[in-house]
Amino acid sequence: MKGFFTLAKTEFKLFMREPAAMFFTLVFPLMLLFVFGSVFGNEPTDWMDNLGSVDVSVPGYMSMIIGTTAIMSIPIVISEYRNKGIFRRLRATPIHPLAIIGAQALIYLALTALGFVILYIAGKLVYDLMTPQRPLMLVLVLLISFLSMASLGFLIGAYFKTPRTASVVANIVYFPQIFLAGAAMPREIFSDTLRKWTEWLPMTQVTNLIKAAWWGESIDIWNLVYLVAVGAVCMIISTRIFRWE
């Protein structure tokens, strides 16, 4: 166990030395908050169910943070650690293989949570962001979303041979979803056709679930089933194809 925690602690420090990854996880969502917050403010409006612009946007930013850690960072770390033999060296020690992967999962979960907390506190202080109506459900939904998206990221890292390809594929999976799955901009402003076509994106489920829990609406069970299914399938394939070196 000592090895596991030292590994997680070390990996966390290493992440903090990656300026780009740290920026997109912890700083970029704040920038979106302040840019759009300063333009639109957070006054409740009729056509948004008496929610303010910030109230509507922040749940999407939360799903963007999940996307950043799970879909952008995890594939790169997995493929890089495999290709450079970093996993190989770790595997030659008594630490359990599951602890090696578990430490990565733990620190990206921690970073995601840190991203949430920073964003929430800033939103609350500056724009009086709406308090989550079903906080426990929100935590649960965030956790499931992270695990599911992390499985997708793990699959990308396990499947693509070089960090370069893994990173390109991660970009292809990440960026369209950021814009089409309601993360960077609300899907409410989409045309009906576009909204219908983007319904099936994995991250759309994430955004819908977070919004529902936040605003105190009932959870659409199909969002949840779909998301868990995506995560489970990715996890099953990953465990079959993953190689340490």
Partner: protein
């Protein structure tokens, strides 16, 4: 005294698809010795090492490392085995000290990393990131990581690759110290000189098989019937020595290869022909020659 070998391979094979990387290798590494494994690239050295370390399951045959089945008893073996891999890295941003502390945390009773860093000359680099270390410093860090658990057996794969000649010499002395401290060493190398200098016994591996096995002296003795004499003689008639040995001439440089008493034969013939080259010399058989003859002509550098 226990007579259990540190490593025992019995009829071990390992194939990857159609490729037979290791083909029926049997050997014992005695406790307390430096055992050298040499051979050209693709000979099966690293595959063999991977099986000894439990990183790879043999296709057939038995592997016992420090008495353990390296696959079934993997976790127990890892506590007493030290490994320095040829192809392994650390994350670029990790510092030397962080790496040493991290790897110490994996063992129940680790050696003081400060002391190891001191002995291996990286204590000035504790706050340097891995990506900023020189090739030699990285190598020495990996050796420290391999020794953190006071291993009973340490496997060093291409220990001195990337080291300058001075650092290489220093490493050799330290490897001897490791052995003298009671740790068995398996040394994989493509530097013949290194194996000759360090190893108590050597296995020469070629095409997945053991081509020769023994002490450096035994191995060179096996091929000590081969002699080579060279000298410079402008316009020399190569045919005149053909009955003595195999003659080749290039740029007035004559090389004669043959068996026993070659030297005496050449000297007599030259006396008769009244030729007295000032640079006549003879080459002794080295492991390098043995290697070349056993692997069919590829030298280590080409391989």
């Amino acid at each position: 005294m226990t007579t259990q070998p540190a490593v025992r391979l019995e009829g071990v094979t390992r194939s990857f698809g159609d490729l037979m990387a290791v083909n029926d290798i049997s050997l014992d590494v005695q406790s307390g010795e430096i055992f050298g494994i040499i051979g050209p690239n693709g000979a099966g050295k690293t595959t063999t090492v991977n099986m000894i370390c439990g990183m790879l399951r043999p296709s057939t045959g038995t592997v016992r490392t420090l008495g353990y089945d390296p696959i079934a008893d993997e976790r127990k073996l890892r506590q007493v085995l030290g490994v320095q891999f040829q192809e392994a890295e650390l994350p670029g941003a990790i510092t030397t000290q962080e790496a040493l502390e991290l790897y110490s945390s994996f063992y129940t009773n680790p050696h003081s990393w400060k002391e190891l860093a001191e002995v291996w000359g990286i204590s000035q680099k504790l706050n340097t990131r891995f990506e900023k270390l020189s090739g030699g410093q990285k190598q020495r860090l990996f050796i420290c990581l391999a020794l953190l658990n006071n291993p009973q057996l340490v496997v060093l794969d291409e220990l001195t690759t990337g080291l300058d000649p001075n650092a290489r010499r220093q490493s050799w002395e330290l490897v001897k110290q490791i052995r003298d401290g009671g740790t068995t060493v398996v040394l994989v190398t493509h530097f013949m000189e290194e194996a000759e200098y360090l190893a108590d016994r050597i296995a020469l591996v070629n095409e997945g098989k053991i081509a020769a096995l023994g002490t450096p002296a035994e191995l060179t003795a096996q091929h000590s019937d081969r002699r080579t004499v060279t000298f410079t003689a402008p316009g020399f008639d190569a045919l005149s020595l053909a009955r003595i040995g195999h003659v080749s001439v290039s740029n007035d440089r004559v090389t004669i290869e043959g068996g026993k008493f070659l030297m005496a034969g050449v000297a007599n013939a030259l006396r008769e022909m009244d030729i007295d080259p000032v640079d006549l010399s003879t080459e002794h058989t080295s492991l390098e020659d043995l290697f070349i003859s056993l692997t069919g002509g590829t030298t280590m550098e080409e391989a």
